[in-house]
Symmetry: D2
Subunit: 367 residues, 4 copies
Amino acid sequence: MGWQALEMYHKGRLSSDSVKKECIVIKVGIVGGTGYTGVELLRLLAQHPQVEVTLITSRSEAGVAVSDMYPNLRGHYDLAFSEPDPERLAACDAVFFATPHGVAHALAGELLARGTRVIDLSADFRLKDAEEWAQWYGQPHGAPELLEEAVYGMPEVNREAIRGARLIAVPGCYPTAVQLGLLPLLEAGLIDAQHVIADCKSGVTGAGRGAKVPSLLAEASESFKAYGASGHRHLPEIRQGLTQAAGQPVGLTFVPHLTPMIRGIHATLYGRLNGEPGDLQALFEKRFADEPAVDVMPAGSHPETRSVKGSDICRLAVHRPGDSDTVVVLAVIDNLVKGASGQAIQNLNLMFGFDEMAGLGAPALMP
Amino acid sequence: MGWQALEMYHKGRLSSDSVKKECIVIKVGIVGGTGYTGVELLRLLAQHPQVEVTLITSRSEAGVAVSDMYPNLRGHYDLAFSEPDPERLAACDAVFFATPHGVAHALAGELLARGTRVIDLSADFRLKDAEEWAQWYGQPHGAPELLEEAVYGMPEVNREAIRGARLIAVPGCYPTAVQLGLLPLLEAGLIDAQHVIADCKSGVTGAGRGAKVPSLLAEASESFKAYGASGHRHLPEIRQGLTQAAGQPVGLTFVPHLTPMIRGIHATLYGRLNGEPGDLQALFEKRFADEPAVDVMPAGSHPETRSVKGSDICRLAVHRPGDSDTVVVLAVIDNLVKGASGQAIQNLNLMFGFDEMAGLGAPALMP
Amino acid sequence: MGWQALEMYHKGRLSSDSVKKECIVIKVGIVGGTGYTGVELLRLLAQHPQVEVTLITSRSEAGVAVSDMYPNLRGHYDLAFSEPDPERLAACDAVFFATPHGVAHALAGELLARGTRVIDLSADFRLKDAEEWAQWYGQPHGAPELLEEAVYGMPEVNREAIRGARLIAVPGCYPTAVQLGLLPLLEAGLIDAQHVIADCKSGVTGAGRGAKVPSLLAEASESFKAYGASGHRHLPEIRQGLTQAAGQPVGLTFVPHLTPMIRGIHATLYGRLNGEPGDLQALFEKRFADEPAVDVMPAGSHPETRSVKGSDICRLAVHRPGDSDTVVVLAVIDNLVKGASGQAIQNLNLMFGFDEMAGLGAPALMP
Amino acid sequence: MGWQALEMYHKGRLSSDSVKKECIVIKVGIVGGTGYTGVELLRLLAQHPQVEVTLITSRSEAGVAVSDMYPNLRGHYDLAFSEPDPERLAACDAVFFATPHGVAHALAGELLARGTRVIDLSADFRLKDAEEWAQWYGQPHGAPELLEEAVYGMPEVNREAIRGARLIAVPGCYPTAVQLGLLPLLEAGLIDAQHVIADCKSGVTGAGRGAKVPSLLAEASESFKAYGASGHRHLPEIRQGLTQAAGQPVGLTFVPHLTPMIRGIHATLYGRLNGEPGDLQALFEKRFADEPAVDVMPAGSHPETRSVKGSDICRLAVHRPGDSDTVVVLAVIDNLVKGASGQAIQNLNLMFGFDEMAGLGAPALMP
C-alpha cells in the first residue's frame, strides 16, 4: 500500500514519518552507534524512505536516548541505545557495524547464519589475507572463515557482487578517495605502478570521537601536520585494491595529514606516466560515466572538500602540470559519508534492490 | 499522476528528478541568486518534492551555470544565472527575492499585479512604518503602498495570515532568534518590557558573501568581537515584533557579535521578572507545542548552534539562574535556514497548501 | 655584572641566553607544568630577562623533556618534567602553581615557611571565605589559615599589597575581564549594583588540556553554546571582587559561552544607570590612565580578542546605546595571558621589584 | 651610552622604549605597510633592540594611524601611514618593500644610489632571469640592471653574500619551505633530480589581505583544496634554487593547497633515492647544525605548523617509509615569519652586523 501513503504525503496530508510507518520498509540495526559513523548512519537513514532503524547498540551509553546524545536527531528518532543483544540484532534485515576492529569478527557469523545481512564499516573484513590483518591490527583475525565470502563494498568496482552479498566490508575513508582517483590510470596501465604517491589530508573526524588530547580544538585547530608517515593501517587496504586494478603489485607511498576541519578528505595523487597517455580527461569521464556517486569535474578544476560536505559524492579532477610525465589527480570525499556511512548505505541499497542513491540525494552543505 | 511517479520512485525505478518532472509542482523563481540565501534556497529546494526552480537571476553572473559557481549543486540543477526579466519572473507561481534592500521594492508590485506571489528575504517589507525604514536604510521606501498587505512571515505568530498572503516579508536572522526566545515571556507579561537585553552571536555568513576584509578567514578566525553596539538595522524590526507581542512598547538593548564560524546564531536573552513567574519550562513548552520548527529543550539544557546546522529548527532553553529575578533564554538557529531561506520555504509551503515542513525535514549536519 | 652582559648582547656578541646566565636572575619553579597555563608560563618566561626556570613538575610526565611535549620550546629550555619535590621547590625564589584546585593548598604553607614565595594560578586562595570555597569546590578548604595573608593578584586593584605579598591568588580568566570592565562603574556608584549582567565568551583553552569529548575540534568547532547558565565556579570570585569595588553586595547574572577558537575571552557587560552618568569615556580613561596592562579604546570601538592574542593587555570599550539607561562595556583578554600566566608574571615582577611588564612586552599575534 | 640604558632597563627603571631612544639604533622604513607582511614586520621589529621604524608608507591608508588599523600595535608605535616619499625613504638606513610585484623595481635603484639598503619581500628580484620573470608576471622586468647585484636572501645558502649585500630578494614562502627541505638531498646528489614532488599546504594569509571571495571565512573555512596545480609563480623560483643546489636542472611537480588556518606552511616533499642513501637523519642534522633558524627534529617526528606559529624557525623531519626507495621530507614554517618578514629581518641583522636572530627569539605561540 506504499503508493497511497506516498500520494497522501505528496498532498501534504501525511508526514514522512507516517509514510515510513505505512510503507513496506526493512528493519535495520546499528552496532556501536555512539561514534561518528554511527550517528552519520542515523542522520542519513532519517531521510531514507525504505529503512527503519529499530535497534542501536552501545555498551557505554545503554539506556541513553539517541536524541539526548545527538540533539540534531531530536524529533527524528524515538530510540535509546541498548546493550548489544544477538537475538534482537538477528531480527533485523540488515545490521551495520560501526565499531572498533574486532567486534564484527565476533558477531558477524552468527547473524549471517540467522539470515541477517551484515555491513561492516570497520576494517574487520577489508583485507583478504588474515595474516596481513593480524600483523597490522596486532591481534589474530577473529573470523577468517568469512573472508572469502566478504565483498569489498566499493560499488564502482564490485557492484554486481554487492547485489548478491550477505557480508560487506565497507572501504575505509582514505582507501575510497585514493582508489577512486587512481583506478582509471592503473586499469589502463598508464602509470608506473611501482611508484605511486598518495598525499592525503583529512579532517579530524577521521580520528573518531575518542577523547584524545591531539584531537582537541586547542591542539588541532590552526595547525597542520602529517602523521603515520612511516606506515598507516589503511596502506595494505589501498595496496590490495590498487594491485587488483593494476593487475600487478603496486608500490605506494602514502602520507596522511591532519587538517583543521571537521569533515573531508582531499587526496592528491601522483603517478609517473609510462608514455603519452592520450586524453586523460576523457579517460576519467568515461570510466565514471555511469557512476551515481562519482563526479569528474571539468578539465582544470580544483575540487574543494566543502563541495561534498555531508554528501555521498566523490569529486575528481585530473591534471598534467606543464605537460610533464607526472600526472596529478585530485579527489575529495566527505570521510563520514562516501568514506563511511554513505557508502555503507549505497551497499545496503544495492543489496535490497533499492535505488542505489536512496537516502543519499541531498546536496552538500555549502557554505 | 503524481502517485504513480512516487510509487515508481518508491520501487527504485525512478529517480527523484523524474518524480519532479511527472508530478504537478509549482514553478519558482529566485531573484539575486548568488548570495548565501540564494544558494541556500537552491540547496533546500533541491529536496522539495513539489517545487521546480525555473529561473534564477543575477546581473553580475548572468550566463554562468549555477553548478559552476556552487559545485555542491552539480547534478541537481541544469540552470544558469540570467538577467532579471519581469516577463519570465511573472511566469512563475512564486518568486523569492534574495537581494540587497531596495530591489524588491521595485519589482514586487508588478509581480503581484500579474498574479505571482512574492516572498522577500530582504528587509524591504519588514517594517510597517515607511519613515522608520527610510531612516535606518538611508533612502526613501520604494513601495509604501504595499506595506499594509505585506505579511511578516513568522509562522509562529502569523500562520493564518501567511496562508492567505500574496506578499511575505521573511523575518531577519537575529529577529527570528530573539523574537522566538522572548515571545512566551512578553505575551504572558512576565518581564519588564522596558529593559530587555539581547546579546546575540552570529557566524560570518550573516555578513553576506561580499568581499570585505573583515570577513576574511585571516581576519575573522580565531577572534571574537561585538559590532554595532550603538545601533543595528535589525533593532527596529525586533522592537516592532516584541512590541506587538507585549502589547506595549518594548525597550531593547541589542548587541550583535561576530563568532568565528560559518553558520549559526546564538541569542542569549535577559529579562527582569515582574514577580513570581510560575513554571517557565511549562510556559515555553506549551507556547510551542504545535510548532514544527521550534524545539523547546529539557530544563537545564544549553542548545548548541551545530544542533541546527543546515536545518530549519529553532532550539530554545529557559533558565532562571540562582532563582533570582533574572530569566535567561538561550535560542539557536541556523541563520541561513530558519533565519532566512528555510523560513522562506515554510512560508511558501503555507501559501500553497503543502506540508509546512516539506523540503525542510533533514536533520542538522552534526558533527 | 649585568650591564656588561647586556651591553655585549646589545653589540650582538652575546645571545640572550648568555645574558641570563651572567645576570643576577631569580630562580623560579612551576608546579603542574603540562597544562596550558604551565606551558604559557614557559613561553612568556623564555623572554623574561631576569627569570630562570629551574624546575617544572608533573607527576604524569616526569622524565619527559619539556621540548618533546611542547616543540615550540625546542631550543629554549633544557629541562625535563620532574616529580614534585618540596626540597627542590623550596630552593626557588618563587613557585608558580599551575595546578588543579587543592594542590596549592597542600604545598603553599611549607614553601612560605621556607622563604619561597608562592603565586597560585588555581582557585585555591581566591575566595576569602573558606566555607564558600568548600561549597563550590565540593571539598574542605585545605589551608584556611593562609587566606588572610593571601593577596588577590589583580594589580589594578591591589598593586601595593602585591609588592609586599608572599602568597598571591592570581585571578581567574572570566573574573579578570568582568572586574576590569565593571570597576569604573561600580567604584563610581553609577549603576544598579543589584542587577549586573556579564555575558562572557571564551575560547576552548579555558576548559584546559584535559581529553574531554566536548573539547574535541569535531565537537566544538563550527558551533557556539552557553554552559553553566545556572551557576559557574567563577561567579563567587567575581561577586567578591565587585562587591568590594561597589562597597555593597552585587547581584550578578553571569552566563559563560564557548566560542570556537583557541584563545580569548570577550565579556559583554550590561548595567542599568542610576542617573545621568556624565562622560563615561573619560571615566574609563582616567581610571586606567596609569595601568600598563589595560587599554581603553577610543569611543565607539569594538575590541577584538585577536588584538590581545598572546599578550597581557586587557582592551576595553564603553557604549551607551541610543542614550538609553543601559551601559554596555566590552572587555577582551587572552585567557591564558592576562587571564592567567601573564597576570601571574605581572605579580612576580611587582613582588621582586622588576618592571611590571618585564617579559610581557610583545605585541599580540595578529593576524 | 647604550649599556647605561640597558642597565637601567635591567633594574626596572627604564622601559624598553626608552632604551631604544638612548641606544644607537638604525632607522628603517617600510613601503607598503598595510598588508600582512608589513604588519608582521612591525610586530617583530617592536621587539628588536636596535631598530627604529621611522616611516611606513601606504597610498590607500595615508594619514591613518598604524594602531588604528592594527590595534595589537597600540602602545608600540606612534606612527601613521604616509604617502611613499623617496626623500624620506632615502633618509633610512634600510627600507623593506612589502609590496605587490613591480613596486620595488621602480624605487630600489634610487634608494641604493643614495646609500639606503633595500630588502625586498616581493618577487621583484628573486629570479635571476628577467625574461622568465616577465613571462610569469605578465609585464617587463622593471630593473634588470640590478639583478646581478641582488642577493637571494636565504641565509642557509647565501649567508656571506648577504652580509655584504645592498639589495636583498627575500625568498617566497613556499620556496623557503621547499628548498630547506630538499637542500641536503640535492646537494648530496641522493635523489633523482628530474622527478621531485612538492605537495604544499598553506594557511590563508599566503593569499594576502586583499578582499577576495575565496578568502572569506565562509568560503575557506571547513574546506581544503588544491590550486594552481597547473603552474604557480613560485615554481620558477623554487626550481632556480634547487637547480643551484643540485648542480643540474631539477624537474619539479609543485602542487599548492589552501588549508583552513591563518598561518603556516607544511611542505611534504618526495624524492626517489638514487641508491642506498646512508643515514638520512645524520645528513640533515649535519647540514643544519649551525643554522639558528632551522631545527631538524628527532627521527620519526611529524612537525606541526603550530610549533612555529609566530616564530622564525623552520622545523624539518625526514622519513623513508617502509625502507622503500622514496624519501619523504616534512618541513613547516610560519609563512609570515620565516616565509617572509622574519627571514627579511634575519637578512637585515646580517647586513648590519647584529645577532642574526635579534628580534626573532620569541617561542612560537602554542597552543
